[in-house]
Structures are given as structure tokens and as C-alpha cells.
Amino acid sequence: MTAFILKRLGIGLATLVLASIVVFAVMEILPGDPAQLMLGFNATEDALQALRNEMGLNDPVLWRYFAWVGGMLIGDFGNSYTYSSPVIELIGERAIVSLPLAVISLILSTLIAIPVGMFAAARRGSVADTSVMGVTQLGVAIPNFWFALLLIYLFAVWLRLVPAGGFPGWSGGIWPGVRSLLLPAVALALPQAAILARVTRSAMLEVLGEDYIRTARAKGMPRRVVLWRHALRNALIPVLTIMGLQFAFLLAGTIIIENVFYLPGLGRLVFQAITQRDLIVVEGVVMLLVASVVIVNLAVDLTYALVDPRLRARA
């Protein structure tokens, strides 16, 4: 068990180190001079040179890499070129939008998908199964940003139930904030839920064909009971894998969904920072997102071990 955890930790760490090298390298070849960006095109060469020295842009590459990584480790992500405030502050301001958005949509998607998938598997071949699978087939095909547009049209433009975009902040209480995150969360969650429901169904069907399900039935327990007691936990393993992968999709989805709804979140921040060549912000946010993907996948690996005693034993 400890060896299993240590190995997964090691892999996660290695992935992070590799990722930091890739991010740093990409930023290195990205065209654009931060000093010029900050001082404008009328700046003198002397002023530019001075600022470059001050920002450490003239230091050797390796030195800058380690300074960057070392800074991140103690929470210093540097200062944004365009906002002239510390990156960590920007991230903090934006995370209070993106984090609730991601969490709400993850919960929403899981709560919808797993019961629906189980329901369909339990009634395999019935009209209910066929229609549920038809709907999920459609759901998988819908791009989330188009779905978001439809939701805006239906609920914001037509029914006027929720705002069409923007974010009022949390200072006015929880409800106004949550209200403006509802549509984005649904837009993110439903296409993911469609995928997850299909995975749940096929994982359940796979497990229901196993020998030990027959053994359980031979004990005299009805199908329904066997489904809950024996099939679900085994089917959870592939479902968890997909959920882990989906988390990365979800994060990527926030980039586009936050753009659709004009939400001041991390996705929008990184998108704007890229177009403005605000490298230090891009590096910081990307590493943060990559780290959260790695951490979530680590958590998924550890959950496997809880679900599956065979993994626990692989000490």
C-alpha cells in the first residue's frame, strides 16, 4: 500500500517537473518582449535594458527556470506585466469564480450520470434504456459552448430567469454568485454527464456478465440487490478513471465557458494573458491547472486502492 502510494506520488511529481520544463520552454520560444510590452513601443533601448535586468530577463536560462520554479514553491508566482499586480493575487481573485464553477459542474454531472447509467444498465434493452441512451448519444455530440448559447437564449433572453453573463462577486451574498454560475455549470456538466452515463452503463453491463454475479444470483439474491451489492463497486473502477480524465476536460471547458458567459475566472484570465503576451501569468496559471489535474488523478488512483483490494495488496 505505501509503496503503491509512493509510486503514484513519484509519478505525479515527475509529471509536474516535466510539465514545468515544457511550459517554461514554450514560454521561452513565445515571441514578444515583456519589457517592451510593459514600457510601450516608445521606450528607449536603455530603459528597456534596465527593466530587463531588473526583471532578470538577461539571466541565463537555467537560472531563470530554477528561480521561477523556486518562486512557485514558496507561493511567489511573480508580477503580471499587464496588470502590474502579483500573479498569485490575480489567481486568488479568479479562482473564487472558477473553483466553485468546476465543483458545481462536477457534482452535477456525477449526480446525474451515475444513477442514469445504472438505471439504463438495469433495464438493458428496454424502451427506457434505449431512449436514455439516445439522449446521451445526443448529449455527447453537443459542444458545451453551443449548449451554453442555447441555455442563455432560453433562460436568460427568453425566460429572463438568470443573468446572461457576468459575475457580481461574492460580496453581495452567496445566492447572486451561485445564480450567475448556474447556467455555466449546467452547460459544462451536461455533455460530461452524457459521457459518464454511457461509461457507467457499459461498465455495469460488463460487470453484470461476470461469473461472480452468477455466483451471487445462485445465492438466491434478486437481480436488483445483486446490482447494488456486487456490481456497483466493481463497475466504479472504470467510472472513476473517466471521472479523473473528465476533470481535465472540465478545466479546459472553463476557458471556453467563461468566455461565453464573460465570467472573470482562471480560464478567461489565461486566455487573455496569452493574447496579451503576459507570459508570467500564463506560466503560473497553466502550472496551477496542470498541478490540479495531477492531484485529482492521484486522488483517483488512491480511490482505486480503496475500492479494489487487489491494488491495496500490491504493496
Binding site: 505505501t2 509503496a3 509512493l6 461476470e210 461469473d211 461472480y212 452468477r214 455466483t215 451471487a216 444470483r217 445462485a218 445465492k219 438466491g220 439474491m221 434478486p222 451489492r229 456486487h230 463497486r233 466493481n234 475500492v307 479494489d308 483490494p309 487487489r310 495488496a313 500490491r314 504493496a315
Partner: protein, 539 residues
């Protein structure tokens, strides 16, 4: 009234008829053996009694258990019967238990479900039955998971689940087919004792006539979904009135006609000296030294040209690993393997080519041995890759045709796909592939264990015939002593990676000296002896 009465049972899946007018009765405390080859419908008969048939199956006729009409019983009523009055043991112990639940949970579950006992009470009863099936608390606490148990131990858990509530009827569908002979003997003995203690009826399904003869009071012999003959075991099998019964019995003890070849003093064809193979074991601690499992441990033997030698042993004894090393598919950790005067270990593929030409292989599984996407010509011709220069296309076809004729098939078969052939025919095709380069040695790894007895007899004849005609030597890996006796002159008995006994096949099996060989011989089912014992007991 009998415990179980089956009358005129018909079963079809979709449009395919599976069972035709099955009649069968079983009394309380009686052991009924249900025997047949693949596709005879014996498993489907059992699943009908349990009402655990596939969705598309339709049954008609009458099945009565303990006065209850099973075919008409609603699902609720069946749930009350299953696991309580009828228990079932399945063939494949490795997959029959839920991997994420402890054995305690899985045994106690049925007890709680049927009796409404408290958790503690059910666990106490689960403990008692696990003790009874030979899994004592000290080594096998209730908190063990299935993956921590071996195949034989898992089968004991499955038996515990089936017998926990002392059912009136126990159905065992090939309960020992996936186990080696020594485990088979132990599990059969356990079943026999449990049935006697609780006066259960036992429906024992098996393809193995010897096993059934040893266990059953009466036998029912099935073929193609029909009952061929039914009757008291000793009489049915000693008189062999029905032609199919006779055919089965004869095939089970078939010995091909062949001249035995005494050990010659010629240069050995294969010389294995001190062969070793280690496999790394997953480390228990991150900083501990890497650990190894020694699968083959200092094995030495030699094989003369044209000789037929058996390599027997329990499952996991290292015999297949040894075979793979001889075939140069696996690198030995130590020792030397010389074939036809050439050292095989540490050679590159190119250097091995001349040796490979003279050494071919036949595997167990006639379905897994062929790439399903290629035609027979290409499949059988595969070893021609070893020839230099490469034969012309016409020459290739000639050689394939000759190889097909050698194994009793027609040259026209070369344009077909492997799925167009039956299991026995496919095994002929794999033999054709093995003989096409006219090798001097064929290593055969359990080549007949997946085949029905009648097919097995034919394939053994073919092996014997090729040995005589082409002078090819065999290393025959098998767990089945009957097969070893039928086809080999010499035997090697392997146990925990070592050769523990060797000599003339008949002498070793008639008079085993090592413990391992004795255990194998005592456990091995033997039809003739079983019939003799039955007759003696009847008098």
C-alpha cells in the same frame, strides 16, 4: 416422489434447439453424474434447474424440485430456493468470487439473506462452514479477499457458499476441470463427504468419465442435447450397452498403436543442463533487495532423436516455463540448453534460425493458436520463414498441401479460415504447422487437454503416427497421466521447479518413488480402476 424430476425438458435459445426431451431423476442423498462432451447440453440442464438461463432461452416440459414446479415458479420463489435448498458450484474458481468483497462477506451474505440472521450470527456460521471445507480460521480469516487465495482454495469458498445452508440439492458444474489432478482429488473428496454428511442430492456434471465413475451412484450420458443412456454407474459402464457409452469409454482409455523406442545411445538431440529461471517478485518494501521466484531450478535431462518423453507435474510446477526456454522463447537465468549440438542460450534470433527449423511447437488452445485474420495456407506456412532460400509460392503451396495430408486433412482446406474448422481439426492444423519444416523435435504443451475425449483419441493417434513415420521426437507436457502413458516412452516428473523423478513412463507410474509422483498417480482419475472399484463395492 424424487427430489428432482425432469421430464421431457426442451430448451431452445433463439431458434437453436439446445435440449431435446431430457428425462432425469435424482433422489435425496443420491449422486447423479451427468456426462457428455462439449455441446451436449449438460450445463444448460443444470442452469435450467437453477433458472439462471440466458435471456433468450425458452424451456418447456416439466422440472419438479421437492414438489415445486420450477419452470412455472415465479422469480421470488426461485430466489427462496437458490442458495437455500439448491446450491451450485461452478467450473472457474478464479472468477466465481467477487474480487472486492471478503470471503467472509460472501459466505455470510447468503446466510443472512435466507435466514435473516444477525451479522454476528451469520459470520459465526460462515466461519463454521469455512472450517468445514478446509479453510481454518488461523490461515483463512473471514477478512481474506479472493485474490489472496489459490484456485483450489477459492473453489472451497464457492463450495462453502453453496453448502452453507445445507441444501437438499447441490449442483456442481465441472467443479474440478480448472484444477490440477491433486487438487481435483481433494475437492472431489470434500464434495463426497459434504454430500454424505447432510444427505444432499448431488448433480455432478463432468466431461471426465473416470471422475464421474468414482463419484456417482448413477450416470446419465448426454450427447447433442439428448440423453443417450442412464443407469446405475457400475453396470452402465461395465456393460457399455449403448454404442455411445462404449465409444466414450473406449476413447477415455485409448492408447495409440505404436512401437516404443528404447533410449538409444546415440548423441542426444536435446541436452538440458542445470537450467534455471527466476522471475522477479513485486517488492514488499521500497528499499528491500529485489526478490525472485525460482520457477525452474537446476533442471537437467536429455532427449534422444525420435524419442517421446513426457513432462508431467501439477499446475505451477514450472513445466511450461521449461518448455518456453527449450523453444528459446524465454531466456534462462542460468544453465545450458543444447539442441542438436548447438547451444541455444544467449543466441540472437538470426543465430537461432537453423535450430528453430528443427524444433517446432504445438499449443493447448486450438482457438488461440491461429491468427483469426489469416487463411490456413498462410498460417500453416508460417515456419517456412525459417528456410533459406525461401521456397517459391508454388513450392510453398506444395509443402502446405503435404503437411495437411500428413495430418489427415485435405489440401483444399488451405484456402479456408481457421474459424471454419472444429477444435479437433484446428489442432490438426497446428500440428501441420509444426511438421511443415520436417523438424526433429516437437514440443507439445498440453496439446490435447482442451479437446473432447473422442477427438483427443484421434489426435493422440496422429501424434503416434507422425512419431513413427517422420521419426520426430516429442517433449509432451501434460498434467494428464493417461495421455502421458498413451504416447510417451519416458517421463520426467516435475515438482516446484525441479525434476524429482524420471524413467520409463509405465514403470514410474506403476511404481512411483518420489512423493510428488506418488501424489500425482494416486490422484489421477483412471476409468478402468474406478469401474473395478465400483463393481467390487457393489458386491
Amino acid at each position: 416422489m424424487s427430489l428432482l424430476e425432469i421430464e421431457n425438458l426442451k430448451l431452445s435459445i433463439g431458434d437453436t434447439p439446445i435440449l431435446k426431451d431430457i428425462d432425469l431423476t435424482l433422489e435425496t442423498g443420491e449422486v447423479m453424474g451427468l456426462v457428455g462432451e462439449s455441446g451436449s447440453g449438460k450445463s444448460m440442464t443444470a442452469l435450467t434447474v437453477m433458472q439462471l438461463l440466458p435471456h433468450a432461452a425458452k424451456a418447456s416440459g416439466r422440472v419438479t424440485f421437492d414438489g415445486i414446479d420450477i419452470l412455472a415458479a415465479p422469480e421470488d420463489a426461485m430466489n427462496r430456493l437458490r442458495g437455500d435448498d439448491i446450491g451450485m458450484v461452478f467450473q472457474e474458481p478464479m472468477t466465481a468470487l467477487n474480487p472486492v468483497k471478503t470471503i467472509g462477506e460472501q459466505v455470510a451474505e447468503g446466510i443472512r439473506w435466507h435466514t435473516g440472521a444477525s451479522r454476528a450470527n451469520a459470520e459465526a456460521r460462515a466461519r463454521a462452514i469455512l472450517d468445514r471445507v478446509g479453510l481454518p480460521e488461523r490461515q483463512f480469516p473471514l477478512t481474506r479477499y479472493p485474490h489472496e487465495l489459490s484456485g483450489g482454495q477459492r473453489q472451497r469458498v464457492v463450495i462453502a457458499i453453496a453448502c452453507a445452508l445445507k441444501p437438499k440439492l447441490l449442483i456442481a458444474d465441472e467443479p474440478t476441470t480448472a484444477l490440477d489432478v491433486v487438487l481435483q482429488a481433494q475437492i472431489l473428496e470434500l464434495l463426497r463427504d459434504l454430500v454424505q454428511e447432510d444427505r444432499m442430492g448431488l448433480l455432478l456434471i463432468s466431461h471426465d468419465l473416470a471422475v464421474v465413475t468414482d463419484m456417482a451412484d448413477r450416470v446419465t450420458i448426454m450427447r447433442h442435447g439428448e440423453v443417450m443412456e442412464t443407469g446405475e454407474t457400475a453396470r452402465t459402464l461395465s456393460q457399455q450397452k449403448h454404442p455411445y457409452t462404449r465409444q466414450l469409454a473406449e476413447a477415455s482409455v485409448h492408447v495409440p498403436d505404436r512401437r516404443t523406442k528404447a533410449g538409444t545411445d546415440a548423441e542426444p538431440l536435446l541436452q538440458v543442463t542445470g537450467a534455471e529461471k527466476d522471475y522477479p517478485i513485486r517488492r514488499t518494501s521500497l528499499f528491500g533487495p529485489p526478490r525472485h521466484f525460482r520457477a525452474v531450478d537446476g533442471v537437467s535431462f536429455s532427449l534422444a532423436p525420435g524419442q517421446s518423453k513426457a513432462l508431467v507435474g501439477r499446475s505451477g510446477c514450472g513445466k511450461s516455463t521449461l518448455a518456453r526456454m527449450i523453444l528459446a522463447l524465454d531466456h534462462p537465468t542460468g544453465g545450458s540448453i543444447r539442441f542438436d549440438g548447438t547451444e541455444l542460450t544467449g543466441r540472437t534470433e538470426a543465430e537461432l534460425k537453423p535450430s528453430r527449423r528443427n524444433m517446432q511447437v504445438v499449443f493447448q488452445d486450438p482457438y488461440g493458436s491461429f491468427n483469426p485474420r489469416h487463411k490456413v495456407e498462410r498460417l500453416v506456412a508460417e515456419p517456412l520463414h525459417l528456410l533459406e532460400p525461401q521456397p517459391s509460392p508454388a513450392d510453398r503451396r506444395d509443402r502446405v498441401a503435404q503437411a495437411l495430408v500428413d495430418v489427415g486433412m485435405s489440401p483444399a482446406d488451405m484456402d479456408k479460415y481457421p474459424h471454419e474448422f472444429s477444435g479437433g481439426q484446428r489442432q490438426r492444423l497446428s500440428i501441420a504447422r509444426a511438421v511443415i519444416t520436417r523438424p526433429r523435435l516437437i514440443v507439445a504443451d498440453e496439446p490435447v487437454s482442451a479437446l473432447d475425449v473422442s477427438i483427443r483419441a484421434q489426435i493422440l493417434d496422429l501424434f503416434a503416427d507422425l512419431n513413427q513415420r517422420l521419426g520426430v521426437a516429442y517433449l509432451f507436457i501434460t498434467h494428464d497421466l493417461t495421455v502421458a502413458r498413451a504416447i510417451t516412452d519416458q517421463v520426467l516428473v516435475m515438482h516446484e521447479g525441479r525434476i524429482v523423478e524420471e524413467g520409463d513412463t509405465n514403470r514410474v507410474f506403476d511404481n512411483p518413488r518420489s512423493d510428488a509422483a506418488r501424489a500425482l498417480v494416486e490422484a489421477a482419475p483412471d476409468l478402468e480402476r474406478a469401474i473395478a472399484r465400483r463393481l467390487a463395492a457393489a458386491q
